[in-house]
């Protein structure tokens, strides 16, 4: 085999996947050393989260032959992380997770380059995320997943037949674990359901009625939530509770203990207090390892085509016995985040008022009384009166100007559709394209100026 003496043994197992043809491969698979080398050179992967899953993911991806990795995480290492976040040591406590994780994997796996980003995911510009070919998620919150999903889907463009443009697709591989349970899923925006299409999969958080906490506590968790939600405000008027401040946590714990004694309820401990307040579910190292392995493999499959990918949602349950199931969820065709939306072509002179009237006449929409929002700016609101007044002056302005003179962009409208006499309210995504304006115009102007 060609290459240095070390290379055959390093990638021997990988070579079996990448150098030989197979029957279960993806449609564009072209086995060979070029594929293997290109994967190392051109695949750029972002790992979001450097916690329990993130540590595993970085190690797995590095050992799968990926050489250009970056990792983003806003947290610092805590003592309680050390049992499963195996890249960290006691002396690392207090250091940024992303930086230590990157350093440790680079020390152990030669040739891999990992760039750490110690910041919030929202702190990065949207374009930062566009530099990666695949985004792998090792997160523990719905908010963060929803954010990354919306960013990845914002790169997606559709052609005039509402087919996703392949070069704009930003695949995501999402892992998640909770105790003995976990999931791994492949999100190919425009092709498979995005995070928002299936957000209903998440069970609602358990929340106790406040009056139960105040009046009739029955469990240790009730006592803790009483101290956290009611007693804290009573005593510290105006000061926000910070779950990451140990002093705050200790205060809540001691109040919870008093409360529990008063009602004769056993079981309030400091770790339970942390668990209830921060909604912590004990993490199991092997669940992380299993889910991460699945995610890393899917990442390799998406990049190389060496096998068809998971289609599209794997659930793992090790609570009683061991169950793994793959479910093929379907896209929500009207998804506000990944769906194509309704294509509308307009002249640059069309005013917002005219646009709203056009929506009513549009055969596919028939949307009356539309309120219009564009990238966080409310252009027109039908209600309540206070917002209607504030936005009314926009009605006579050209939509093109209100959309900052972009050639095309997505805009959202709310209104009522009146098909078959039955009025239903709806929220729709529209792809507005202005006639006679395209990306070239800007460059021309820049050149002429």
């Amino acid at each position: 085999m060609a290459g240095t003496a070390a290379s055959p043994s390093r990638s021997r197992d990988l070579d079996k996947l990448l150098l030989r043809p197979g029957n279960l491969v993806g449609p564009t698979f072209e086995p060979g050393t070029e594929l293997r080398d290109d994967l190392q050179e051109y695949a750029r992967i972002l790992v979001v989260g450097a916690g329990g899953l993130g540590c595993e993911l970085l190690k797995d991806l590095a050992l799968s032959g990926f050489k250009n990795l970056e990792v983003i995480d806003m947290d610092r290492i805590e003592v309680s992380n050390l049992n499963r976040q195996f890249l960290f040591r006691v002396e690392d406590v207090g250091k940024p997770k992303a930086e230590v994780a990157a350093k440790r994997v680079m020390e152990r796996v030669s040739g891999v380059n990992i760039v750490p980003h110690f910041c919030r995911i929202e702190d990065k510009e949207i374009e930062f995320y566009n530099d990666f070919n695949i985004i792998v998620l090792g997160l523990d919150s719905i908010e963060a997943r929803s954010y990354i999903n919306s960013v990845a889907c914002s790169f997606l463009e559709y052609d005039s037949d509402d087919k996703p443009r392949e070069e704009t697709i930003k695949p995501m591989v999402d892992g998640g674990t909770e105790g003995f349970k976990g999931h791994a899923r492949v999100i190919v925006p425009g092709v498979t359901p995005c995070f928002e299409c299936t957000i209903w999969l998440f069970p609602p958080q358990v929340k106790f009625p406040l009056c139960t906490l105040a009046e009739t506590p029955r469990t240790a968790a009730h006592c803790i939530e009483y101290a956290h939600l009611i007693k804290w405000d009573e005593v510290h008027s105006g000061k926000a509770f910070d779950p990451d401040d140990p002093e705050h946590m200790k205060w809540v714990f001691s109040e919870a203990v008093k409360r529990a004694e008063l009602f004769g309820i056993p079981g309030v401990t400091y770790s339970l207090t942390q668990g209830v307040v921060k909604n912590i579910i004990p993490a199991i190292a092997s669940t992380n390892a299993i889910i991460s392995a699945a995610c890393a493999l899917e990442t390799l499959k998406i990049a190389s085509g060496c096998s068809k990918t998971l289609s599209n949602y794997l659930t793992y349950n090790g609570v009683e016995g061991l169950h793994i199931k793959v479910t093929e969820f379907v896209k929500d065709k009207d998804c506000l985040v990944c769906g194509p939306g309704v294509l509308i072509e307009l002249d640059t002179s069309v005013t917002l008022e005219k646009f709203i009237n056009l929506l009513e006449e549009h055969p596919n929409l028939q949307l009356s009384k539309a309120s219009v929002t564009y990238r966080g700016k409310n252009l027109y609101m039908q209600a309540p009166p206070v917002l209607e007044e504030m936005t009314r002056s926009n009605l006579s302005l050209p939509l093109y100007d209100l959309m900052d003179k972009v050639a095309k962009d997505v805009i959202h409208v709310t209104g009522t559709t009146g098909k078959n006499d039955k009025k239903t309210s709806c929220l729709r995504k529209l792809r507005v394209v202005f006639k006679g304006v395209d990306g070239v115009t800007d460059m021309d102007m820049a050149g002429g100026a």
Binding site: Y42, Q205, P209, C211, T373, G376, P384, V386
Partner: protein, 183 residues
């Protein structure tokens, strides 16, 4: 997709020399759903809504309720709403800004309304919550107390409860607690 990555990498190198586009604000799915809720608000005459941060921040707003019947007739009670980016998966956080003598609202402004916590469902909306809050003033309920003393008075001595509410709303002491005038 590696072929595609390769092409993109080449493009990226070229693009790095040119300046990128200015970053644009992302609108979360929660914001969009809230936009729908707000644009469809159908408030009773007794309720009004304001947006302290202007027309482009719908995630933080205030609702004033002026009950037109019952113990709280004539008072004005302001509630703050904080809506999360994953709304409606999660209920808005609602607090009563006006200090009120009420069995289901404590002196810190915590509100015991089932649909704000244990019974929240994504099919509910801002309108439902506002009606729920309004209902608390027309039908205060001593069975789900947050203000224990107020609940006990309502249960045992409705006449005294009524005069306590009047006194609190006019601005004055009920027991050891001072209430600011809200009529």
């Amino acid at each position: 997709m590696i072929k595609l990555f390769k092409v993109k990498e080449k493009q990226r190198e070229i693009a790095e020399n040119a300046n990128g586009k200015t970053p644009v604000k992302k609108q979360s799915a929660g914001e969009l759903r809230l936009h729908k809720d707000i644009s469809e608000l159908n408030l009773p005459k007794t309720c009004s809504i304001t947006f302290p941060n202007g027309k482009d921040d719908l995630m933080n707003f205030e609702v004033s309720i002026r009950p037109d019947e019952g113990y709280y007739l004539g008072g004005t009670f302001v509630f703050t709403f904080q809506v999360s980016p994953i709304y409606p998966h999660e209920a808005p956080k609602v607090k009563c800004k006006t200090k009120v003598y009420h069995p289901n609202i404590d002196l810190e402004g915590n509100v015991c309304l089932n649909i704000l916590r244990e019974d929240w469902k994504p099919v509910l909306n801002i309108n439902t919550i506002i009606y729920g809050l309004f209902h608390l003033f027309t039908q205060p309920n001593y069975e789900d107390p947050l203000n224990h003393e107020a609940a006990a008075v309502l249960r045992d001595n409705p006449k005294l409860f009524e005069s306590n509410v009047r006194r609190a709303m006019a601005g004055g002491y009920v027991g050891q607690t001072f209430f600011i005038r809200c009529i």
